[in-house]
């Protein structure tokens, strides 16, 4: 185990949490580890991190990383509301939401949409396994048409694709990945945190107990066989020198709000992450071809997040006192006299 300290003087262990209580081999545990790596390498100060979640297997995971940070395991499907409120109370917090496919695409779909619409500054990770684990294996709304439940039932409904939905709403950061692809997940988490606005990261995360069988399109083997990454993602944090030595025309470099860079190295066809229609097309073409397209699908660094657009100060609202919040006695008397 490395004892190297990061830029805020903390070892990697400082980013660990309680022992997981999820099943051995659960994709969510891999994501937890990716999260620990990303937060450690970014040098996020634990006290500035707010780990938010709803209900479900995914929503338990904030207990499994950065134990010293504040976390809020809220009610089912309502993480976006709690996150919105906390973010507005204190803009200095780094809001990191963890949700699942049931929590996001069923009970929480409304809040998911409206959080995106407002562009609340937060990272929203969907640990997406197409099934309800804690209640033992019912289909979720992200399960693909025709995918087969463990007990044999076939899903007859169209899936809700969180990335496609987010794109439709003009989400400022949309990415998809696979829990088994740490090389891609870690830089995407870092970029999502560096991004100012709602960053949606849909991570396919197989459920070993209820959805890892033949006929499932969210199993380890299916995703491994069908994942098609649109670009190699690397992340260069603001505190490191930008050093790109790729051949011209093979990479795209996007600067994020905090001065960090996300560098995308072309793999196949060139994808322009600032082109929303292209992102939709990539998803649809992937679906038609039976692939799971992963990578950074869309990024807009020009859109104002909600708090900025509303003129809310950077200094936390929670710290304001009587002098800043109350009328003066003269203002008060004048105001009351207007009711005469």
């Amino acid at each position: 185990m490395s004892t190297t300290l990061n830029r805020v003087g903390l070892p990697r262990d400082a980013y660990k949490g309680a022992a997981t209580t999820l099943c051995a081999g659960c994709g969510h545990n891999s994501i937890t580890n990716h999260m620990i790596k990303a937060l450690y390498e970014l040098g996020v100060e634990p006290h500035r991190l707010a780990k938010m979640s709803g209900i479900g297997c995914s929503s338990k995971t904030p207990a499994y990383f950065v134990e010293t940070a504040h976390g809020f395991n809220g009610v089912h499907g309502r993480m976006p509301a709690l996150t919105t409120g906390a973010q507005l109370a204190n803009r200095q917090l780094i809001m990191l939401g963890v949700s699942g496919d049931g929590d996001t695409a069923s009970i929480g779909l409304g809040q998911f949409l409206h959080m995106i619409r407002r562009n609340i500054d937060c990272t929203y990770i969907i640990e997406d396994n197409g099934t309800y684990g804690l209640t033992k294996g019912q289909f979720s709304a992200t399960a693909d048409l025709g995918s087969v439940q463990k007990k044999g039932a076939v899903n007859t409904f169209q899936p809700i694709d969180p990335c496609a939905v987010a794109l439709t709403l003009g989400c400022s950061f949309v990415a998809r990945s696979f829990s088994g692809d740490g090389k891609q997940v870690v830089p995407l988490i870092k970029a999502a945190i560096a991004h100012r606005g709602t960053a949606i990261l849909d991570i396919i995360s197989p459920c070993v107990t209820f959805n890892d069988h033949d006929g499932s399109t969210k199993s380890y083997s299916w995703v491994k066989d069908h994942e098609e990454s649109i670009a190699d993602v690397s992340f260069i944090p603001f505190f490191e020198e930008v050093h790109v030595d790729y051949e011209p025309g093979t990479v795209r470099d996007v600067e994020l709000h905090d001065g960090s860079h996300i560098v995308l190295k072309k793999l196949g066809e060139d994808h322009d992450p600032s082109d929303r229609r292209a992102a939709m097309r990539v998803i649809e073409e992937g679906r038609a071809a039976g692939h799971l397209v992963t990578g950074l699908l869309y990024l807009d660094t020009t859109m104002s997040d909600f708090a900025t657009a509303e003129g809310i100060p950077e200094a936390p609202l929670k710290d304001l006192g009587e002098a800043e919040l109350r009328l003066t006695p003269d203002q008060f008397d004048q105001f009351i006299s207007e009711f005469a």
Partner: protein, 601 residues
């Protein structure tokens, strides 16, 4: 001519919703108030934008009675569709100002009629084409002014005050009022008994305020910084006033930065969730809603209770659910709000009975929420919230904010990090909390529902669960003694006591006067918070018979009090209920009481 009736009458304007009549009614109200005469307006409006009938009752009494009355003295009949029905509401001997074109076939002969060709006057005398429909209402203001003797200066004040933000509109409205006044003077001589005369001693130092304005000002002075809401009648205006007030008082003129975040949420689930998220992160946070929205907030209210997160929830009660009668008043949410959530839950509920208390409780609710780390409900209603009430001017707060038990970085250093989020250190069952962003390695904890131990660690231990449940109950006991105490008036030294809460107060004051006049004086206790103060039980113990008066069908407060009483006192408790959606009049108390308590011959 009959004997004059001075400053003691009720005007009822029957108009069409969306026609601009509300402005005319408010000008009339402010003009009469300017004469030093107490006014009590009640707006009875439909759930409609334009076209349905609407009524505005302006009660004028020398004593300042503010409850609704069913007695109409002067009718302004402006709506052909309700003309016949409106006539029936007028007391015998009353006066009727009506559109001349309305049929007078077979009308009552015990009323005085003043027919006015409003449509013709509007066409011939009002030059402004775009505003003709609105200004036509001003003509009746002028006619009423002529009928009752409202001085021109008072009318000028009413118009100027009404158009504070639009001074250009003052003259055109005054011109239209003059049309009506001239018509009165040229065409009528007074044959009814009603007169208004300037008076002193009742309205000095008083202002006219809606409960929702008062509550918004309370929230502003209480230091709210995060507001999330979803529009719903009759609560919407509370947040809309708050938006206007914060635009005026919370924006930094140099930077344009706003010292408040206000979000119009997608629904009430999100609204209360945002407020709880903000309360958890340390802001003074609130939402405002009405019954249907409160229903949606149940799950989060329970989380707030168990996770012990401060938040303020205003509920401006109305009749619901679904379309219900959204523009009619009610006090039927109290039992629901008190235990909002599944599971064992009891919330702190404040019950303002006046607009002054809407301001004070709206402000202090944030202190209670922070101090007891729990959702605090402020239950107003449509009558209190949306009508104008005469009130003493509000007082500037004497106390700074009470932010409750929050541990800072320095506190944690002093404690060497030894603390637990749900430990009862002080014996009052209120634990210490830390806020996200506190720069100390021991500050962080994981917030969740009821399944946690003293250190906020998840546990399914039956012992730990029960211990936490018992502490929450003890916390409620701590709060019980700290919330606004009942207001008790036992000067009547009666064997009979009345208990009421909220907007019923206005009718109670009047009913007590009526009962005293009928040789049946009664004592009075007004409940101002839940959980109930022990004072309530003591009051019942001191009286032979106690009537709980409330505006709901099931006697919800009656039930709550019965549950709190020792068995030997339960039989003393009786119930008077009013639930037709109209604000309770004094008669709805006096009449059933005198039936149950006949005065010995």
């Amino acid at each position: 001519m009959t004997e004059q009736i001075i400053n003691d009458l009720t005007i009822q304007a029957a108009t069409v919703n969306g026609s601009g009549s509300q402005t005319a009614n408010l000008i009339l109200t402010r003009a009469i108030f300017k004469m030093g005469i107490p006014v009590a307006p009640k707006n009875v409006f439909p759930s409609n934008i334009e076209g349905l009938p609407t009524w505005y009752q302006l009660r004028i009494t020398p004593d300042g009675h503010m409850a609704r009355t069913e007695r109409v003295d002067v009718l302004i009949a402006f709506n052909p569709s309700t003309w016949r029905e409106d006539l029936l509401s007028v007391r015998s001997g009353g006066a009727v100002i009506h559109e001349e074109a309305f049929s007078n076939a077979d009308v009552r002969t015990d009323l005085t009629y003043y027919p006015v060709p409003f449509s013709k006057l509007a066409k011939s005398k009002i030059q402004n084409d775009t505003l003709r429909k609105q200004l036509a209402n001003m003509i009746y203001v002028g006619v009423v002014a002529g009928l009752l003797g409202i001085p021109w200066e008072a009318l000028e004040h009413g118009v100027t005050r009404q158009f504070l933000a639009k001074p250009k509109a003052v003259q055109v409205n005054l011109d239209a009022i003059k049309v009506g006044l001239d018509y009165w003077q040229d065409n009528f001589s007074k044959t009814d008994p009603y007169h208004l005369k300037p008076m002193t001693g009742r309205v000095e130092g008083k202002v006219l305020v809606e409960g929702n304005q008062a509550a918004a000002l309370g929230a502003l002075m209480g230091g709210v910084t995060v507001v999330a809401w979803y529009p719903i009648t009759p609560s919407s205006s509370l947040c809309e006033y708050l938006i206007a007030y914060t635009d005026r008082f919370r924006v930094d003129p140099k930077t344009g930065e706003k010292r408040v975040a206000i979000v119009q949420a997608e629904d009430e689930l999100a609204a209360v969730g945002m407020a709880i998220g903000a309360g958890w992160a340390g802001a003074r946070a609130m939402t405002s809603t009405s019954g249907p929205g409160l229903s949606l907030m149940a799950e989060f209210a329970g989380l707030g209770y168990y996770a012990e997160v401060p938040v303020v929830i205003f509920d401006i009660q109305r009749i619901g659910p679904s379309t219900g009668l959204p523009t009619r008043t009610s006090q039927a949410d109290i039992a629901f709000a008190y235990t909002l959530s599944h599971g064992d839950t009891k919330h702190l509920v404040l019950l303002p009975g006046t607009v002054e208390e809407c301001y004070e409780f709206g402000r202090d609710a944030f202190d209670y929420a922070d101090r007891f780390q729990t959702p605090v409900f402020v239950l107003s209603d449509l009558d209190l919230g949306m009508n104008l009430w005469m009130t003493p001017a509000f007082k500037y707060p004497e106390k700074p904010f009470d932010r409750g038990k929050v541990l800072s970085k320095e506190d944690l250093e002093r404690l060497a990090g030894d603390w637990g989020r749900y430990r009862d250190v002080d014996g009052d069952a209120v634990a210490y909390r830390t806020l996200p962003g506190t720069d100390h390695p021991a500050a962080g904890f994981f917030t969740r529902g009821s399944g946690h131990d003293e250190n906020a660690r998840y546990t399914e231990s039956p012992v730990a669960y029960e211990r936490n449940m018992d502490r929450l109950l003890r916390k409620l006991e701590t709060a019980r003694g700290a919330l606004p105490a009942p207001v008790v008036d036992e000067e009547a030294k009666s064997a009979i006591g009345l208990i009421a809460f909220g907007s019923t107060h206005a009718a109670m004051l009047e009913a007590r006067e009526e009962l005293a006049a009928a040789k049946k004086p009664v004592d009075y206790l007004r409940v101002r918070a839940l959980p109930l103060s022990p004072e309530v039980t003591a009051f019942v113990a001191r009286h032979e018979r106690v009537y709980v008066v409330e505006q709901n069908r099931d006697g919800q407060m009656f039930d709550l009090i019965r549950l709190a009483l020792p068995p030997e006192l339960v039989g003393r408790l009786h119930s008077i209920r009013h639930y037709n959606g109209q604000p309770i009049p004094a008669a709805a108390i006096t009449e059933p009481l005198l039936e149950s308590e006949p005065v010995p011959a």
